[in-house]
Amino acid sequence: MSLWEFIEGRYDDLLQAGFDHIWLVGLSVLLCTVIGVGLGVATYQTNRPREIVLAVTSTFLTVPSFALFVLLIPPLGIGAPPVILALTMYGLLPVVRNTITGLREVDPSIVESAKGMGLGRAQRLTKIELPLAWPVIVTGVRVSALILVGIATIGAIVDGPGYGEFIFNGLARVGSPVAVNLVLAGMIGVIVVAIIFDVFFAVIAKLTTSRGIR
């Protein structure tokens, strides 16, 4: 059976896996954006906490995904929950790092003039600093989404939904004719999801960047 026939035959399954893959990664990206930007805003002005947050989030990314998924089985069971928590941990570093860098790169004289105009701390942050740092932050979120699309595949080991199922099913059938189709279909699916996220965030970056700095 050719790959094309395989894809036609399993069209519904593949589409379902695609939706699963997208919501799994989408939810995780949303969580790490909220947490990551929060951590970045909270720590960008202070040296010690900033270093600690960066060190901890980069340590998360060093832990192999296979190990982390399995370690999350005792507290969270199998299926989507351990995968979402693990993906959120993996996605933090790019978001936190870019939030901190973006905020620190804002020209101090601009912040100074905002102060002179009588803007308070919170207003300076929401009206001046965050909008100026936003393009860098969105890039971090985009990088994080691309990393997570790949890692989500491994989630199939703990019964996480998405295209990983196809790849691992293929691996379990090494030598049989359907194995190649399963793996290839899974890989193509992952690439399509990656492209969808990349385009999505490119559009988001365009739409949400403050007009003045576009």
Partner: protein, 267 residues
């Protein structure tokens, strides 16, 4: 490790490519050098006490004895080191070759391909070799790991060489240094930090992906995890997963030290 901010993604070099913003590295203190080993030792101690406190049945005893764990750990280390050595041997010369003037035309395309390749899941690359050529075992795992992690090292080598200031090269040539001399005495040393960041990325990816090598019968600590999963023994799963994580963090920590030590003095 408190300041080891450019970790797994080799951020220094990926910054222009992948949009990861760089954070300047500060000098580490002795205390921060000790933090990670102490933490990992405590984790291992905790794991040991946890396993000791359990009454192990025969399946668990078979999976969790010193020789089985030692073999799996050693296989894992071999997979990681052998694949990384091949990556260095292939990617750095290739990177040097592809930054010579006559390759300028297709350089951009290559970097794009290298970046897109990174979005593929590591397991997919391993799986593809396995199912397409019924190629499994240690050698297959090495081929899969190398095929994947050549990309970050190649990319960092090219970026590292390209960001060397043209004026510095000009000065070198003006002093009468040969083309080869400019490469080995000026370009490569200046690119070393970024190349090392790439090698560290490759090491971290390799040590993590080697855990999945068990799915193509190539051994490693993944064997222990899978043994635990397939027999539904929590103690075995946790032992395998914790040891895998400890090994990965240790490898990254050692690579971080190597990065600091190998960096040319003047930089």
């Amino acid at each position: 490790m408190t300041t080891s901010t450019e970790q797994s993604l080799g951020a220094e070099a990926t910054a222009p490519e992948m949009g990861m913003a760089p954070i300047r590295r500060e000098h580490r203190t002795v205390a921060s050098y000790l933090l990670m080993p102490v933490f990992l030792a405590l984790v291992c101690l905790g794991l040991y006490l946890y396993v000791q406190s359990k009454e192990l049945d025969t399946i668990e005893q078979r999976a969790l004895n010193a020789s089985r764990l030692g073999t799996a750990g050693w296989e894992h280390v071999q997979l990681t080191i052998v694949s990384t050595i091949f990556v260095i041997l292939i990617a750095i010369p290739l990177g040097v070759f592809l930054t010579r003037p006559f390759t300028r035309r297709f350089r951009g395309v290559l970097l794009t391909v290298a970046n897109i390749g990174q979005a593929l899941p590591t397991i997919g690359v391993l799986a593809l070799f396995a199912v397409a050529f019924v190629f499994i075992g240690f050698k297959a795992a090495i081929v899969g790991l190398v095929a994947y992690t050549v990309l970050p090292v190649l990319r960092n080598t090219m970026v590292g060489l390209q960001q060397v200031d043209e004026n510095v090269l000009e000065a070198g040539r003006g002093m009468g240094i040969s083309k080869m001399g400019v490469l080995t005495r000026i370009e490569l040393p200046l690119a070393v930090p970024i190349i090392l960041a790439g090698v560290r990325t490759a090491l971290v990816i390799n040590v993590g992906t080697a855990a999945l090598a068990t799915y193509i019968n190539a051994g490693g600590l993944g064997d222990i995890i899978v043994a635990g999963l397939s027999t539904n023994r929590l103690t075995v799963q946790i032992t395998g997963a914790v040891l895998t994580a400890v090994l990965a963090l240790l490898v990254d920590y050692l690579a971080g030290i190597a990065e600091d030590v190998l960096r040319p003095k003047g930089l």
